[in-house]
């Protein structure tokens, strides 16, 4: 285990704990984005062949798509609850 793997492992553990402990929903989404970057890099470093790159790209595009949908729904729900309080 060299410096790169050690760095990515420490970062993913720290970010995973912060996803669990944060209360704000938007900040939780930002930490989740950082964790997706780390897992995609770990997949590419674990499988040292071109197929691993394809898997990493597919995982990254899929997770970005779903976090886009989550952020859009957070906006819709905030608008709905704001209108409800009026």
């Amino acid at each position: 285990m060299d410096a790169v793997l050690l760095l990515i492992g420490v970062i993913s553990f720290v970010v995973g704990l912060r996803v669990f402990l944060t209360k704000n929903r938007v900040q939780r989404l930002l930490y989740l984005c950082c964790l997706n970057f780390a897992i995609s890099a770990l997949i590419a470093l674990y499988i040292k062949s071109p197929m691993g790159g394809v898997v990493a790209a597919a995982y990254f595009i899929g997770s970005t798509l779903s976090s886009n949908a989550i952020a859009h729904t957070i906006g819709k729900v905030q608008r709905l609850e704001g209108r409800g309080e009026w």
């Binding site: 990515i8 989404l29 890099a41 590419a44 886009n68 952020a71 906006g75």
Partner: protein, 165 residues
């Protein structure tokens, strides 16, 4: 499991290169100016309410909601590590398709991937491509994972300094 000083210096240099690359390209193509989708606007408003900067919040929301130059730099590093120089061109095509899926024009991601491929190819004499993967993770950690309010202030300051807001 010992870590030598040479590896740390290479990691720090690659972190600086990746950070400069994607922040400058994203700022130049106008990410902090306006939110592209509804989710980026929500993230910007929330960070402004917490005491941060509005335009920096738009920048961070655009990174989360669509694959921009940050994702392009990571994909370029991964495909250069696996396939060599022509892997970077394949990564450019993949990022363009991903941008089209997320309802975005996609010039920032494509140009960022191509410039990252060229920079890694120029620097590959004395820094191996696997250090750029770690450097990119470290760069995205300083923006999205460490302290959001301070990061949005720094990004807004850079955007105003370049005159792109």
């Amino acid at each position: 499991m010992e870590v030598s000083w040479v590896e740390l210096i290479k990691l720090l240099i690659s972190t600086g290169v990746c950070w400069t690359n994607f922040v400058l390209i994203d700022t130049y193509f106008g990410l902090p100016r306006k939110p592209g989708v509804l989710g980026a606007e929500v993230i910007g408003k929330t960070l402004e309410k917490m005491g941060g900067d509005l335009n920096g919040g738009y920048f961070m929301g655009n990174i989360v909601c669509s694959p921009d130059a940050s994702a392009g730099t990571l994909m370029a590093a991964i495909f250069y590590y696996l396939l060599g120089f022509k892997g970077g061109l394949i990564a450019t095509l993949l990022v363009y398709i991903g941008n089209r899926l997320c309802n975005d024009p996609g010039y920032a991601g494509t140009f960022g991937t191509f410039s990252a491929t060229v920079i890694i190819h120029l620097l590959s004499g004395f820094i191996e491509p696997r250090y750029f993967i770690g450097g990119m993770i470290m760069a995205i950690f300083t923006i999205q994972g460490l302290y959001h309010v301070g990061a949005s202030k720094v990004l807004g300051y850079i955007g105003r300094k370049l005159g792109m807001i």
